[in-house]
Amino acid sequence: MLKELIDGIFWDIALIVFLAGIVWNLLAVFTRGIKKDLAVPRGSGLVGAVMTNVRRFYPHHEIAPRIRFQVVSGYLFHVGLLVLLFFARPHVEFVKDISGVGWTPVPDWIFNLAYEIAFAGLLLLLLYRLLSPVTRLISRTDSYVGSILVLLVMFSGCLAMLESFEGLRLFHRFMVELLMIYFPFSSLMHAFLFIPSRGYSGAMFGRRGVDI
């Protein structure tokens, strides 16, 4: 019965909440509108938007030495997660089962390596958030819940990697469904908002002819 619930109705609910939540969140952001800039533009907003998006992938040289730890750990986690999520064989097969669309997965050893890198990166970031007095002060419950949920999803996935026990696969899937329901209402939405956010700042300053 648990299998039918987790593979059936819970998955449907989680998927609807996830997709509808993201669309609703993005619509809410884009329909807020922006104040019209009456000044004569001195540069291109579009170029500013694109350049800022690219430049924010590496830290500004003035602050780089101070945030090296967060940048390195952050990239370890995000790059590892990207490979894991989209190119791990069980995930590729899962997407192919539900959508019919598939692609070539990475070899299992790369999958394992990506997992280790992503897990280490996330653990380091979570420890930094807990141990640094600055981030401890500015962190809210949502910051911890999001990190811990992602960690649980990854850990449960590791436990089920052998693909020998249905119970472990169901536990992993249940964790994923919880994360999908939580996702649109949390700071994890940065996954979809970081591009428009950087783009807005870049466009605004780009119109004013300022390089940021």
Binding site: E116, F119, A120, L123, L131
Partner: protein
């Protein structure tokens, strides 16, 4: 013609019976010869030598079992140890695991845990003499604390999953049943094998972060003879006392032994044979059990055993009274450098590279 039909019928019947008797006796003779003929060489040898003769097949199986020396045969399979039919050492390894590692490991871990609980019940928490002063000293920077807790998390995931693999059949099967335990064991094995390589990174980071203050120095032997103050009054110490230094080197050496043996076991594609796996498992098992047992002492002293210890690894700061009581030589260095924070100084300077106090000890 004298032969009547009745006579012919009678003759035919008798002949048939005779033929049947011949066939039966021939068959029985054949069986008897099959059983008796192979024994003739033994009988001859017995008569000739006057003693029992071993089964000639025993020579073959002795060579196969490698009682006298390892004999490598030839097979079509082209991998390490493919030519060894039976690995006699495998039984020795199995007996070591079942009769030595498992019971003695349980005694060591359980014994040390029991002693610690007994010590706590008798002695209680070691309080700060005279209470807290309110003045703070930065003991561990943010980087040091992150490296420590990262190692702790990875170590305990591996320790628990390893203990489930070693003792699960005795402890968990009665609780979860065989099916429940098989799921738990599979999950533990995956967690252990996948996260194991990360422990190497953690141990190396721990080594390079803490090594510079962990070389044995003047005063460490005296600290040991006083058992850290348990015998014979105050024991002087620098930033790290002799007990902490011993734990550091044990953790690094045992940790590296665990990592090297673990990698050999986790990646069987470097041409390792059975003997290498067996020795790796022995090293891995002994190192793990010793490290887990000794870590209980470290955990006890860092938490309930000593007032004011845990906050050094959570906030980075210790009370000045704590520093003076347990690490007096380090306290003197810090006091002379003017690095004692008075009550009310900003919390945000703690252990972060931007803080002036932390910068001198920051590993950024």
């Amino acid at each position: 013609m004298k032969h009547t039909t009745a006579a012919v019928i009678q003759d035919t019947g008798e002949a048939r019976q005779r033929r049947k008797r011949y066939m039966l006796w021939s068959f029985l003779l054949l069986i008897a010869m099959t059983l008796v003929l192979p024994l003739i060489p033994y009988a001859v040898a017995y008569v000739q030598d006057g003693s029992a003769v071993r089964n000639p097949g025993s020579e073959l199986w002795r060579e196969v079992r490698q009682r006298d020396q390892a004999v490598i045969g030839q097979t079509q399979a082209d991998n390490v140890d493919a030519g060894i039919l039976i690995n006699k050492r495998g039984e020795e390894w199995r007996l070591f695991r079942m009769k030595k590692l498992i019971p003695f490991g349980a005694i060591l871990i359980g014994g040390i845990l029991g002693l610690i609980i007994l010590f706590y019940l008798i002695r209680g928490t070691l309080r700060l003499p005279g209470g807290r002063s309110g003045k703070r000293i930065l003991r561990f920077t943010l980087n040091e604390r992150i490296v420590h807790w990262f190692t702790v998390v990875i170590f305990w995931i591996l320790a628990l999953s390893g203990l489930i693999t070693l003792y699960g059949r005795y402890v968990l099967v009665p609780l979860l049943g065989p099916e429940g335990f098989s799921v738990t064991a599979s999950a533990s094995l995956m967690a252990h094998n996948t996260l194991g390589p990360i422990f190497l990174v953690a141990i190396l980071a721990l080594f390079f972060t803490f090594v510079k203050n962990n070389f044995f120095a003047r005063g460490d032997l005296k600290w040991l003879t006083k058992a850290g103050g348990l015998l014979g009054g105050h024991a002087s110490a620098g930033r790290f006392n002799a007990g902490e230094k011993i734990w550091f080197w044990l953790a690094v050496i045992l940790g590296l032994a665990l990592c090297v043996s673990g990698l050999i076991l986790d990646f069987p594609n470097w041409g390792q044979g059975r003997v290498v796996f067996e020795w790796s498992h022995v090293v891995h098992g002994i190192s793990a059990v010793v490290m887990i047992a000794v870590s209980f002492g470290h955990i006890y002293l860092g938490t309930v055993g000593m007032e004011g210890s845990l906050e050094s690894m959570t906030t980075g700061y210790v009370d000045a009274t704590w520093a003076e009581a347990h690490h007096d030589r380090w306290y003197e260095e810090v006091r002379n450098a003017g690095e004692i924070e008075e009550p009310g100084q900003s919390d945000l300077s703690g252990g972060v590279a931007s803080g002036g106090v932390a910068q001198s000890r920051s590993t950024d």
